[in-house]
């Protein structure tokens, strides 16, 4: 089906997820349609329980959808087996989680190189890529350290290096600053912005509006459905009285949206 979908990096159609357990059904996502272009930085924002993490996990094949379609690079992937998903993730998808998720019994260098090796790099290539990434992220001196010895911010940077080791088409970040102090959060957001500037497509999930403001586009989820999807335009200081006439479209705060829905 060609409808401009071929230019999209990620597309979901009517994506739904219902958690069943102990005779209770909990719908986490209800028919979500999403589209992400290559190189685009989108943030999914919403309160706790809105389904944003579920959306991200399904986009990366960490969880199977109940119904709906997922298209990645023009290929339908929602029905793939775990093994096929795993192979897809090696080269095309990088993950960053809230709680760092580094392999605890390996050094920082090993953690990054493991991802590269999984992607098919030789040992030399993996080593070079690791050195390059750690240097970029300011962690060159910590290559032989164990993850437990790093601060939260440093661990998250290692996770980022690991996620980008194979230059994936899509970077999925689930509350990457959720467990960090403000200084570390700023550092991580700067790194994401830099990666984006280099052409990396990012889908980021957060409950924090300030974190979401780093993205080009903000998708608001509430109770499993998309209630808003708009580009993020930062207000510019008017250069002259003439341009101030063109009022920039600014995102309304969430509370206003809720009032609208009544």
């Amino acid at each position: 089906m060609t409808n401009g979908a071929d230019t999209l990096l990620l597309r979901t159609v009517g994506l739904s997820k219902i958690f069943r357990g102990d005779g209770v059904s909990v719908p986490a996502l209800r028919g979500v349609d999403l589209a992400l272009h290559p190189g685009e930085f989108a943030a999914v924002i919403g309160p706790s329980g809105s389904g944003k993490s579920t959306l991200l996990h399904m986009a990366g094949g960490l969880e199977p959808p109940t119904s709906g379609e997922i298209w990645l690079n023009g290929q339908r992937v929602d029905g793939l087996s775990q093994a096929r998903w795993a192979k897809l993730r090696r080269r095309h998808i990088g993950f960053v989680f809230q709680f760092f998720n580094l392999v605890s019994n390996m050094t920082v260098a090993d953690n990054v190189e493991l991802a590269a090796l999984m992607g098919g790099a030789t040992r030399r290539q993996a080593r070079h890529r690791r050195e390059e990434l750690l240097a970029e992220l300011g962690l060159a001196g910590k290559a032989d350290a164990a993850p437990a010895r790093l601060s939260g911010g440093e661990q998250q940077r290692v996770a980022l290096a690991r996620a980008m080791a194979n230059r994936p088409s899509l970077l999925l970040a689930d509350e990457p600053t959720g467990n960090l102090d403000s200084a570390a959060s700023q550092a991580v957001l700067r790194l994401l912005a830099t990666a984006h500037a280099d052409g990396q497509a990012i889908l980021l999930v957060t409950h924090d509006a300030r974190v979401a403001s780093a993205a080009d586009r903000v998708i608001s989820l509430f109770d499993g459905t998309v209630i808003d999807d708009a580009p993020m335009v930062l207000p510019r200081l008017p250069a002259s009285p003439e341009t101030s006439a063109a009022r920039p479209r600014v995102r309304a705060p969430l509370s206003d949206v809720l009032k609208l829905r009544g």
């Binding site: 996990h57 990366g60 960490l62 969880e63 199977p64 775990q82 093994a83 795993a86 192979k87 993730r89 090696r90 080269r91 993950f95 989680f97 809230q98 709680f99 998720n101 392999v103 605890s104 019994n105 390996m106 090993d110 190189e113 493991l114 991802a115 090796l117 999984m118 992607g119 040992r123 437990a148 939260g152 690991r162 467990n179």
Partner: protein, 763 residues
Amino acid sequence: MRAIGRWIRADMRASVGQAIAVAGVVAGVVTALLLSAGLLQGATNPWQGLFTASRGAHIWLHLAPGTDADSIRSLPGVTAISSPEEATAATMVQTWQRTRVELRAMRPVPPAIGRPLLSSGRWLSRAVPAGVVLEVTLAEAVHAAVGDELTLDNVDGSIATRVRVVGLAETADQGFYPDQTPGLIWVLPGLLQRVEPDAGRTQKVVGLQIANPARTGFVVQEVVTQVGSSAVGSVSTWQQVKQSMARRNPLLGLVLALFGLVALGAAVLAIINVTSGRVLVQHAELGMLQALGFTPAQLTLMLTAEHALLTAAGIVAGLLGARLLMPLLFGAVPGGSPASVAVPAGWSALIVGGTVASVLLATAVPAWRAGRAWPVAAVRAGPRGHLSRLATTAMAARLPPAMVLGSRAAFVRRMPAVLTVAGLAVPMVMITIGLGFWATLDDVRANPASVGLATVTAGPGSLTMAQAARLIAADRDVQASYRCVQAVGLVPGETTTITTLAMGTSRRPYPFVVASGHLYHAPEQAVATQALLDAFGVHVGQFIQMYFGGVPVTFRIVGRIIDPQYGGEVLAYGTDTLAYEGAPMATGFYSLVLRPGVQPAAAASRLRQISGGRLDVGLVSNPGDQLGVLRAALGALIVVLALIALTSLLTALRVGIRDHQRDVWVLRAMGLTPVQVKTAVVVRTTVLALVGVTVGAAAGRVVSSYLISAVSQAYGLGAGLGRAASAESVAATIAVAVIGAAVAGALSARTDSQNQAAVVLGP
């Protein structure tokens, strides 16, 4: 593959203790199984090496003096015959003991067939006319060494000859002393005549080599026909000697096999526990590896490959251990090449293959389940449960919250709890059975009469039988004495000779322990052990015929007895049977039954004293002593089983700590003190340990009596012998296990409390 290899290396480095435990468990199980296979197969047999080196004879004959041995040379199948040499019975006298021996005359030039292999000192030479060479195992048993001076008494003790030991030698003519008696001593022909000038008391010893060893029985029949059965004193074949040299200890082999197999089962349980536990503890990491791109098959392969490596290491260690332990356990084997102490290759392959398959299965199943789970489902996994009515009641009753929460936590994850309890109970069952065996051995050692052993024998020595009888009757420690004669019977068709026992008379039979039927009460009635009945293929009520000095005697088996002597193969009857049939009978000795509580060694030395050293007093070896090796093996097996149990416990700890970490700060926020929180961890592991070992001990006690009785009955030691482990030893074992669990829990609770809350509060 590179990524998998890297993860395996990192993981093994990180959990060295667990890796060593898994490899150690596999090594212990493999060693036990290999040793048992070796013992059951009679692997340790130096016979072949000795036979080849000494150019041994396939058949040894003791012929009456004057028998024409030359006629044997021409029999079909006989390729060579040694020159007949003289042999006579004698008694070797040392300061502290008298030992019955057989003197064999040999020339200074060793013979072509059956030459003894000198292991120390020098061979006989005319320069030392009073020099003697002792067989190595005899020398070991009586603590004689090169250079020792001994006295040799002739059969009736009328002549004593001083001799000197000039050398020790090995032979393939006869099995090891004291399994085969009497001991062998080689002397010059002149010395033999000095010791025993009466030619009527000597025999001719002839060795035959035959073309086809498989037809040994046939050749023996021909020889007996040729020279007449009355001329044949005794026959021994290479098969008998080989069998007797095999360190075949079926009881020990069976025990090791039983424990080894159960240990393998317990090890499989422990490894399932370890792998499931690790999957549980590392589920977040395994989920993250899937996020990185590891497929489910790769995850399964990774975990299985890691355990396969550990298993391989364990198997190599087990093979080495078995090689080292076999000769160590059973002493240096004279004349044995390294090959003779190796375990048969077929059994090794079976054991190694079985262990690898079991361990891989134990690992692969939980690993496959781990791979199957979706990564996020894995990450979200946590124990599900609710506070049961029992727990809430306990809390309301103001029981210590640490106890209640800890006990509850032990069973919140059902499957791991079941695996842990089983992983502790199964080894405990075997440990309890092992303790029962130990107690039974102690019983046998302390009370040999329960297995039907007389403990002291007294030959007349230089006294007459009547004098000896009077002396013995006068001794207050002797409850009863019975005249005993060892008579060698030739079994037609079986082509062997066996040593039978004429003990007591039909009117006053020796009080064997009768398992079924009754004792002999008339001439020609006899009792036999199960092993002898099996060897002849007869039952109680059937007949056995033998020739004693050419006189045929037919016995009717009237009862089955328990007696561990002669390898458990005993045929006993009254001395009046031989007289009734007109068969020749030697003087014999007295078998003494001591009053309860009297120590055999003390009674023996007093008898020697009151007889002025003229009574030929000996001690009958107690199977309880010989089974010292069994105790050592049991001890080692108990250690292996304890290691298996420890592995299960440590796994339970790891899982528990992981769950506990989620909750510790919450519990503290709710008002539990740090001490109470730590106590909850300790209580959790202690409760699991207590349940596991108590279940195991109870099951073990029920099973062990039946099991030991069954085993000892099968080996002629008698039913009703089994004794369960004492309550004290079982209680002590339970206490050790529970205290160990508590200590382990306390140690891990201590390290755990140092974790920061932020790190700990995971998703």
